[in-house]
C-alpha cells in the first residue's frame, strides 16, 4: 500500500523549503562575486599571434560563420605573405573552436577573459590591434595541452559564497 493522499505531500514540501532556508543561497552577486571561469575554456574571445601567423587563411576557411576576414599582400623580399587586415566579428562567433584547431602554425588561441560585453555593436568587430595577447586577455589552454599543463590547477566550484552588504 502506498502511503499517499494523507496530507504527506505538504510535510514533504515544508521540509524542502526549510532545507533551502538553512543552506547557502546559490546566487552569485556579480560585481562583488564572480564565478570561476576555467583557464582551459573554449570560450569568449580569440587571441591572434602576429609573429606566428603566415596569412594562410585556413582559419577564415574553417569558420562556419565566415566571421574571420583576412587580407594579405605578397612580400617578395622575404618571400612570404604580409597580413594587411585581420579582423573578426565576435558578434557572429559561436565559439566552436574550429579556427583554433585548424591553424597549422598555432597562431590562434582562445582567451579566458570573462567580461567582454560591449556597448555598441561595432565594438564587437575586433581588428589586429585588439586581438593581441594582453594582461587582460590571457591565453586559454584549449587545444594546446602543453599550455594547459602549465596553467595552475583550479576548481570550478563556488567555494564559498558569502553575502556582502
Amino acid at each position: 500500500m502506498k502511503f499517499e493522499r494523507y496530507g504527506i505531500g505538504i510535510i514533504k514540501g515544508l521540509s524542502v523549503t526549510i532545507r533551502h532556508l538553512l543552506r547557502h543561497p546559490t546566487v552569485v552577486q556579480y560585481p562583488e562575486q564572480r564565478l570561476n571561469i576555467s583557464r582551459r575554456t573554449r570560450g569568449n574571445e580569440l587571441i591572434w599571434n602576429q609573429e606566428k601567423c603566415t596569412g594562410c587563411a585556413t582559419c577564415a576557411k574553417s569558420c562556419p560563420l565566415g566571421a574571420i576576414e583576412i587580407t594579405t599582400s605578397t612580400n617578395p623580399v622575404e618571400n612570404k605573405y604580409a597580413v594587411e587586415k585581420y579582423q573578426i566579428d565576435t558578434g557572429y562567433c559561436i565559439q566552436c573552436g574550429l579556427c583554433v584547431e585548424a591553424c597549422p602554425y598555432a597562431a590562434l588561441y582562445f582567451s579566458y577573459n570573462f567580461e567582454c560585453a560591449k556597448y555598441r555593436r561595432w565594438e564587437l568587430v575586433q581588428d589586429k590591434e585588439k586581438m593581441r595577447e594582453t594582461p587582460e586577455r590571457k591565453v586559454s589552454g584549449y587545444f594546446y595541452p602543453e599550455r594547459a599543463t602549465k596553467l595552475p590547477r583550479q576548481t570550478l566550484l563556488i567555494e564559498r559564497i558569502t553575502e556582502k552588504d
Partner: protein, 374 residues
C-alpha cells in the same frame, strides 16, 4: 454634560483602566492608541523584511540586501517610492467608493489590536467579549476590499473582490468554531483572561484547533496559498488592480497588518500570549508573533495557490467537519474534568489530531477534492 461624564465614567469602569494610570481614562486611551499605531507600523516593516528575506532564502535567493545594512531599509525605500508615485483613478470609477475603500479596509485591521494584551492587562480595552469583538471586526475589512473591487469598475477587481467575499464567508465558520474550543477551556471571552488561563499553552491542549485556526486564518486574510483574490497569474492584481500610490500603499499595509493581527490572535489564543520565562512579557509577545508569521511565510513559500473550487471544498469538506469534531471532543473533555484539563489530555488530543488529519485527508480525496460534483 452630566450625562456625558457619567457615560465616560461607565466606560472607565467597563474597560478596567488601572486606577493609578496617569491621566486616567484619556491618558490610557492616548497612550495605547499611539502604542498600537506605532507597533503596527514598525511591525509591518519588520514583517515585510522577514517575509522577503525568508522567502528569498527558501527559494535559494538572497532577497533584498542592498538598501542599508542587510537590506534593513528596503521597506522604507519601498514606502518612499510608493508614496511618491502618481495617484491614478480610472475615469469610470466610482470616485467616493474608490477613495474610501483603503480606509475602510485599514481601520478594522488596526482596531483588532485594541483588545490584544501586550502584557498582563496592557491593552487598549480589556473587553470581556474580546474574542467576539475580534471576530466581528476582522471581517469588516472585506467590506473595504469589496468596495475597492466594485468602485474600480474593472472586471479583474470585481472578480478578486467576489472571491475574497466568498473565501471570508466560508472560512469564518471553522475559524469561529476553532475559537470556541479555546473559549470552552479558558472559560472566558476576554483575551487577557484566556492568556491567564494558559498554564499549559493551548497549542498542546488544542492542536487540531490551532491547525484549523491557522489554515482558516490564512484564508481569512488571503495569504498564499489562499491568495485567490490577488492571484496575479489569473486576475492581474485582484481588487487593487486600479490602485496606485498612497492608496495602494494602504492596501499593502492592510495585507501585512492583517497578517500581524492574525499572528497576534494565534499567539494570544494558542501560544500563551505574553507569558514566558526570563524575558519581559511584551518581548515574548513580539517573538511569538514573529514566529507565527514565519510559519505563514513558510507555508506561503511551499504551497502552490489553490483553485477557487478547491478553496470552497477545503473549507466545507475539510475544515468545517474537523472543527465540529474538535469542538465536540473539547466539550466532552471539559465536561469530564471541569476543574481544569490534566496533562493526559495533551497526548489524547495530539493523537486525535494526527488520526483525524491523516484519515480526513484521504477521505477529503474520496469526497471529490475540489470538484463540484461528488
Amino acid at each position: 454634560m452630566m450625562a456625558l461624564e457619567t457615560n465616560i465614567n461607565n466606560l472607565v469602569r467597563l474597560q478596567a483602566v488601572p486606577p493609578d494610570w496617569p491621566g486616567g481614562f484619556w491618558g490610557h486611551w492616548v497612550f495605547f492608541t499611539v502604542v498600537i499605531i506605532g507597533f503596527v507600523l514598525t511591525m509591518v516593516m519588520g514583517v515585510i523584511y522577514i517575509e522577503r528575506r525568508g522567502m528569498g532564502r527558501m527559494q535559494s535567493r538572497l532577497g533584498p540586501n542592498r538598501t542599508g545594512p542587510f537590506g534593513l531599509l528596503q521597506p522604507v525605500a519601498d514606502a518612499i517610492k510608493v508614496l511618491l508615485k502618481e495617484n491614478i483613478v480610472p475615469t469610470a470609477a466610482d470616485k467616493l467608493v474608490h477613495w474610501l475603500a483603503p480606509v475602510v479596509a485599514f481601520a478594522p485591521a488596526l482596531m483588532i489590536f485594541a483588545v490584544i494584551p501586550f502584557q498582563n492587562g496592557a491593552m487598549l480595552a480589556d473587553l470581556n467579549i474580546g474574542i467576539l469583538y475580534v471576530v466581528a471586526i476582522s471581517s469588516v475589512s472585506t467590506v473595504g476590499v469589496f468596495m475597492a473591487g466594485w468602485g474600480s469598475s474593472n472586471k479583474y477587481s470585481l472578480l478578486g473582490a467576489m472571491r475574497n467575499v466568498a473565501a471570508v464567508v466560508s472560512y469564518e465558520i471553522p475559524l469561529v468554531l476553532a475559537i470556541v474550543g479555546v473559549v470552552l477551556i479558558a472559560g472566558s471571552l476576554s483575551l487577557n483572561q484566556i492568556v491567564l488561563a494558559q498554564d499549559i499553552p493551548f497549542i498542546l491542549l488544542q492542536p487540531l484547533g490551532f491547525f484549523l485556526f491557522f489554515a482558516a486564518g490564512c484564508a481569512e486574510i488571503n495569504r498564499s496559498p489562499f491568495d485567490l483574490m490577488e492571484a496575479d497569474s489569473e486576475i492581474v492584481a485582484g481588487f487593487h488592480t486600479e490602485y496606485s500610490g498612497m492608496k495602494f500603499a494602504m492596501f499593502y499595509l492592510v495585507e501585512y497588518a492583517e497578517a500581524i493581527a492574525i499572528s497576534a490572535i494565534i499567539t494570544t489564543l494558542f501560544l500563551s500570549g505574553w507569558r514566558g520565562p526570563l524575558l519581559p512579557p511584551w518581548l515574548w509577545f513580539i517573538i511569538k508573533v514573529l514566529l507565527v508569521f514565519f510559519a505563514m511565510v513558510w507555508t506561503r513559500t511551499t504551497l502552490p495557490r489553490i483553485r477557487i473550487d478547491q478553496l470552497m471544498a477545503f473549507s466545507w469538506k475539510f475544515l468545517l467537519p474537523l472543527a465540529v469534531i474538535n469542538l465536540l471532543v473539547t466539550a466532552l473533555e471539559v465536561l469530564a474534568s471541569p476543574a481544569g484539563l490534566p496533562w493526559v489530555v495533551v497526548i489524547i488530543n495530539l493523537a486525535i489530531m494526527a488520526i483525524l488529519i491523516l484519515l480526513w485527508s484521504k477521505f477529503f480525496f474520496k469526497l471529490g477534492w475540489g470538484r463540484i460534483e461528488v
